[in-house]
């Protein structure tokens, strides 16, 4: 056997073993997993909101995984009543587990902050509801309209006076902001027992 063939075979064996172990076996192991109770497939609007979440890279500051009691303080911080399980993610086609918490974890955001007005104001101007936040504002998901032009179907967003548009104007959420909110409301962890059954 020539030396270059030895290198080739050795290198190939090394990578195919780790690929099998770290990619294929977990896929098999989790392929039969049931969604945890309370986890449903996304509706059309929720999926569109999720696409916006992916598109604008929310993952780079917000993880979606609650760590168990005894490892980190996630549960004591109120970021979830239980740790995340693989069954929570079965409908997630682009995983958004994340590796960063410049902002808080969002896996249970719907439980602790369900208010639509809060979320829309937060997206329009994070510092209007969370002073000191470093989150970017997303004004392009909103429209600033004259009060007289607001349609009955428009969702207007109450904004803290310090950040509100000038007198006579109002902030109206575009569809993408509403879809994003609807996606965030799917992020809710139902309380479960240790073994993953409903309480």
């Amino acid at each position: 056997m020539t030396r270059s063939l030895l290198i080739f075979l050795g290198a190939f064996a090394a990578i195919s073993m780790s690929y099998t172990a770290l990619a294929l076996i977990p896929s098999l192991q989790l392929s039969t997993i049931e969604p945890t109770p309370g986890t449903a497939d996304y509706t059309f609007e929720e999926q569109r909101g999720r696409d916006i979440y992916v598109r604008d890279g929310c993952l780079y500051c917000h993880s979606q995984q609650v760590r168990p009691e005894g490892f980190g303080a996630d549960i004591r911080r109120g970021w979830g009543s239980r740790p995340s399980f693989p069954g929570d993610y079965v409908y997630d086609d682009t995983h958004q587990l994340g590796s960063m918490r410049t902002g808080p974890d969002l896996h249970d955001i719907a439980s602790r902050q369900p208010s639509r007005d809060w979320h829309l104001a937060h997206l329009y101007q994070p510092r209007s509801v969370s002073p000191g936040s470093v989150m970017p504002a997303y004004p392009y998901m909103f429209e600033v309209k004259s009060r007289s032009n607001v349609l009955p179907s428009d969702v207007t967003v109450p904004i803290n006076p310090e950040y509100a548009p000038p007198e006579g104007k109002v902030v109206v959420a575009k569809d993408e902001a509403i879809y994003l909110y609807e996606y965030l409301m799917t992020l809710e962890l139902q309380p479960l027992n240790e073994d993953g059954a409903s309480q």
């Binding site: 980190g72 109120g78 693989p86 993610y89």
Partner: protein, 523 residues
């Protein structure tokens, strides 16, 4: 030019009058170097372009922490798009293209034969750049897949994967025409990574994963693109250039192969420690932690080999730009890898996971190790491929100090900031917004440090532009930071052909043969 090879001179009989075997061999080697010129210009030139683009994205992303309401009016400059655009341009544009440029030159040099299939490399560079343009624009206009380290949309990888495969063909072709029996360790690393990288890319792009398994594949890939692509290229370059410039053989022949096989066997398993504490199966995370810790073996082996080669020759760092950058990179490799092994432990991850500490760690690997070695290698390669010298030692010095101090400040700032952030996050009585407030000074350090590094990149790009266009006056002799004392890099040092042969299986060290191109000893 036909792909005929120049036969290396074998022995003295039949020499033309006045020609010594050394000068003939030097001429022949110059022919080998010249055969790599066009692909080296294509890949190295493109890589520097992407370095500048990536640096600009980095500055914008970092400044947004100081000014979160800056450039928010439209989506394409929002943080969540600029940041992955930064990562993808520096990984796939700067380091990958630069790495292939360096590998191309090293490959011909180490196999002592002219590069075959250059047109394929040129085509590959064109496809690769096209893929980068599409991918970068794709992320910015909102086609990011938000899978960390593989954000570019499929239509960008549709160009990059074939480009990667196209690189393999000329490499194998050249290997088949090699004029050496013994394969130097750098060939091992480069050859293996030419198999690993397309494997990794294709495997991660398969649309067969969902939910948590997608996350494990994601981190298997993301960690391996560092470990099985950027690391082998960086180590191959360090194994070549350190002994080369110093003029002494690699410390131990046996250790270098132990280092190779342990890296090949251990590194690929280490990535899933990024999911520690998360919803991935526990056995997976445990396996990854075990292998992360076992990485101490290849790291220590490589560290001993590199640093023992330098010991006794530290004063040469004062003169040679190549040596200074490469040794900086090799030392950073030791630090970042040992840090990586330690921080994979659950107790340490509990604090540092999800914090800016991780960003500091990745920049220690991707920048202080890989990027600095790539800079050093380019300082050696370009004068030989172009047959033209660098314009200004002063500018090289500015490049070194801005990037070296910049990454030092970057790493220190975010490490401290990240640990504070992590400790505070473990205390639920501390309000989250207080933690955000407390990280702000460290994020400001990051912007300042990043700006410093970017200044260095523009200086480097200017030097690169001048050498590729062969501008300025022709310099005599190599560029050193200071005039080198006579004999420092003289005959016997910086040997052209011996770095790959002087570490013999018996461990005996032969004195290095005289230099490949005597007018540029040591650099």
């Amino acid at each position: 030019m036909p792909e005929s090879d120049v036969t290396p001179p074998s022995s003295t009989p039949g020499l033309p009058p006045g020609a010594s075997p050394d000068t003939l061999e030097a001429n022949w080697r110059r022919g080998v170097d010249r055969s790599t010129r066009l692909p080296v210009i294509a890949f190295v030139g493109s890589s520097v372009f992407w370095l500048l683009i990536g640096s600009i994205f980095a500055i914008i992303a970092s400044l947004k922490f100081q000014m979160p309401d800056w450039l928010v009016q439209s989506g394409w400059l929002t943080f969540g798009r600029i940041r992955p655009a930064h990562l993808n341009t520096v990984i796939y544009g700067w380091l990958s293209m630069g790495g292939i440029g360096i590998a191309t030159w090293l490959w011909a040099r180490l196999l002592k034969t002219k590069l075959r299939g250059r047109w394929m490399l040129m085509l590959s560079a064109a496809l690769w750049n096209l893929g980068m343009v599409l991918g970068t624009i794709g992320i910015l206009i909102g086609h990011s897949r938000a899978i960390e380290w593989v954000e570019m949309p499929y239509y960008a990888f549709a160009f990059i994967v074939p480009a990667m495969l196209l690189v393999v063909v000329p490499f194998v072709w050249t290997l088949r025409h090699r004029r050496v029996k013994h394969l130097f360790i750098s060939v091992w690393y480069l050859g293996a990574s030419m198999l690993w990288t397309p494997f990794l890319l294709i495997a991660v792009l398969l649309p067969i994963y969902q939910g948590v398994p997608e996350a494990t594949v994601n981190w298997w890939y993301a960690h391996n693109i560092l470990g099985l692509w950027l690391t082998p290229v960086g180590l191959a370059a360090a194994y070549y250039f350190i002994p080369k410039v110093i003029g002494r053989p690699v410390y131990s022949y046996h250790l270098s192969y132990l280092g190779f096989w342990t890296l090949a066997l251990f590194y690929n398993w280490a990535g899933v420690h990024h999911l520690v504490g998360g919803p991935a199966p526990q056995w997976l995370v445990t396996v990854s932690i075990v292998f992360s810790v076992m990485m101490i073996v290849p790291v220590v082996v490589v560290a001993v080999n590199h640093h023992m080669t330098v010991v006794g020759h530290f004063k040469k760092l004062k003169y040679s730009p190549t040596l200074r950058f490469v040794v900086f990179g090799a030392m950073s490799y030791t630090v970042v890898s040992l840090q990586g092994s330690l921080q994979s432990l659950r107790s340490w991850q509990e604090i540092t996971h999800f914090t800016h500490y991780t960003i500091a760690h990745s920049h220690l690997g991707v920048y202080a190790f890989a990027t600095m070695i790539v800079f050093g290698a380019m300082y050696y390669i370009m004068p030989r491929a172009m047959n033209w010298e660098w314009e200004s030692p002063r500018l090289i010095s500015i490049h070194f100090w801005t990037t070296g101090l910049g990454v030092g400040a970057y790493f220190t700032g975010l490490t401290i900031g990240g640990v504070i952030q992590g400790i505070q996050m473990l205390d639920p009585s501390i309000d989250f917004l207080t933690i955000v407030e407390d990280t702000k000074p460290w994020l400001a350090v990051r912007t300042v440090a990043g700006t410093l590094m970017t200044i260095g990149h523009f200086v480097f790009a200017y030097l690169m532009y001048r050498i590729i266009t062969r501008s300025g006056t022709r310099r005599e002799g190599p560029v050193y930071f200071h005039p080198a004392p006579a004999g420092m890099f003289g005959s016997g040092a910086g040997d052209g052909s011996s770095a790959e042969t002087t570490a013999t299986p018996s461990g005996a060290t032969r004195s290095a043969r005289s230099d490949d191109d005597a007018e540029r000893p040591g650099l």
